[in-house]
Symmetry: C2
Subunit: 132 residues, 2 copies
């Protein structure tokens, strides 16, 4: 596995936070973190169609917060606690930015010297959609 680019990290973050931004999905995640559940077992817990719940599970799976394994006709879903931790790390990085202004690091890197920034993904700095 390669170091993820800034773009890939942002895509991942989009997927994580989008997945978490729905209370049904958060509830599903809580259940599958506490233990494996089949999709239909999960579906029975909510006042909506099976298809709706199945799509919520699919969103969680695509984001990486949940994994599925097949057992016969059932699909057993488990929460991926490592992914949850990664989201937490992302927030910790935000806090760090508040404490110490990490973003200054880029300027220090970029402004002089050979700039052998193997960690940094070239072009843009910490972020994304700048204009100039």
């Amino acid at each position: 596995m390669n170091e993820p680019t800034t773009r890939e990290r942002e895509d991942q973050a989009d997927a994580w936070f989008h997945a978490l931004a729905d209370r049904t999905r958060r509830d599903i995640l809580r259940r599958v973190l506490a233990g494996e559940h089949s999709v239909s077992t999960l579906a029975r817990s909510y006042d909506m169609s099976f298809a709706a719940v199945q799509k919520h599970v699919a969103v969680l799976e695509r984001s990486g917060l949940l994994t599925k394994r097949r057992q016969g006709r059932e699909a057993l879903a488990s929460g991926d606690v490592e992914a949850v931790r990664s989201v937490g790390v992302m927030l910790t990085e935000l806090e760090a930015l508040w404490r110490g202004r990490i973003s200054r690091m880029d300027e220090l890197f970029a402004s002089d010297t050979g700039t052998d920034t193997d960690t940094q993904t070239s072009t843009d700095t910490t972020t994304s959609t700048q204009k100039d």
Copy 2:
């Protein structure tokens, strides 16, 4: 201030994660956590209209991740690190659910005798939006 209801906590979580689920908003949040910025200063950093950025700031403000103060004609935005921490706590609670099945605590309190083995998830017990 009263204890927030489950409903209010979920509404808050919806707002937090929705606000974080957009990379422009995450970028804005990074900047205002690192230091105060006026809305138009922020707007100049992105390749979109002032109104678009202003709306992003408004979303962050409504979620509580950002606060604004007025100084003359400018609106100075600051990231609220306490809110960021609260989001982190919410994720930690998810992790805890994985580690120990917190929801069982009630039973342990009620039933006495620490006879816990692996305690697998039988029915559900966990949280909110059940059907029946």
